[in-house]
């Protein structure tokens, strides 16, 4: 456990930034509702941000090593399940289960 004061400060900083991002735009964005650029960004950013976050989660992956097998299999399972059933819960649980089994039992590090 890091210093409790630091751990609490990290939460408070995050909470302040997150609330500011959720609240301030209501005052600022109203005149921008008609802006084509804002709409262009608002429709495309969510998907792109998620793609970037997936890469971030897999940033330590080295494709040539055996260690990449578990996350890549789990990723394939997640995508496959989601394209098949479109059930977020099932895809997340299934992909995570594949990863846990491979890392804990089949390919222990």
């Amino acid at each position: 456990m890091p210093e409790p004061g630091y751990a609490v400060a990290a939460v408070l900083v995050s909470a302040a930034v997150t609330w500011a991002l959720r609240a301030l735009p209501f005052a600022v964005l109203a005149p921008l509702r008609a802006s084509a650029t804002v709409r262009h960004l608002s429709t495309r950013m969510p998907a792109g941000v998620m793609v970037i976050l997936v890469v971030y989660c897999l940033r330590d992956l080295s494709v040539s090593s055996v260690g990449a097998l578990a996350p890549l299999s789990a990723l394939a399972a997640t995508i496959g399940l989601h394209l098949w059933r479109r059930n977020a819960l099932l895809s997340i649980l299934g992909g995570t289960a594949v990863h846990v089994v491979l890392v804990s039992a089949v390919l222990p590090r």
Partner: protein, 254 residues
Amino acid sequence: MRIDSVAVGDSSPPAPDRSPSTGHARAALADSASVGLGFLPLGLAFGALAARSGLDWWWAGLSAALVYGGSFEFLLIGMVTAAAPPASIAVTAFLVNVRHVFYALSFPLHRVRGRLGKAYGTYALSDEAYALTAGERSRSWPGPRILWLQLFMHLYWAGSATAGALLGTLIPDGVTGLDFALTALFTVLALDALRGLRGDLPTPLLALLSALIARVLVPGQLLPVAFALFTAGLLVRAAATRNRPMTGEEPYRA
């Protein structure tokens, strides 16, 4: 599931003298069931991961209650255990949550009355709260029903995170790899968001390219650099499309 049956099981008709806020709370409880079902395992995973990362049990509950931004909170575990400086935590919180800025364009805050109500309405404006309240189905929901719905979702998240942290230390040490739940969550959110874009392939490609470039050039600052490259790319593309309307891409012409 249990949440739903509580709402449905007590099927006595609302007494005439019952205050309208009770009716709003009940309706919101039923509305929140689907999201609750999704929050429960994710919150448990978040709490368990925090506990397994060496953070005290209360930290997950505090973060879930105060930050209340699921995907960012998973990242926060790694940053806190690595003792990242608060400034870089703030920058990451900004970049990961900046998507919320766009919710102001269509979240029905005008239906929520009072300064306190509006404050909480924006505080608890999670992705899921936005998804449930900005759609067609919720057009007739009055302010109290929206606030109750937000409160229930907030409680599911904070409660399951705390429970996960308390139970997390019970998971045997040999079981590892639970952290993939976060990767899977982002993968699912990406697939759903991509489906909404209907064949707009340049957007995910631009994002993927931005992330890979950042990964190669500045692995220590992958997120901020990738987000900056991606946003710059989108802006260039928006400008280019507007100057050349014959590209046929005009979904944002109002």
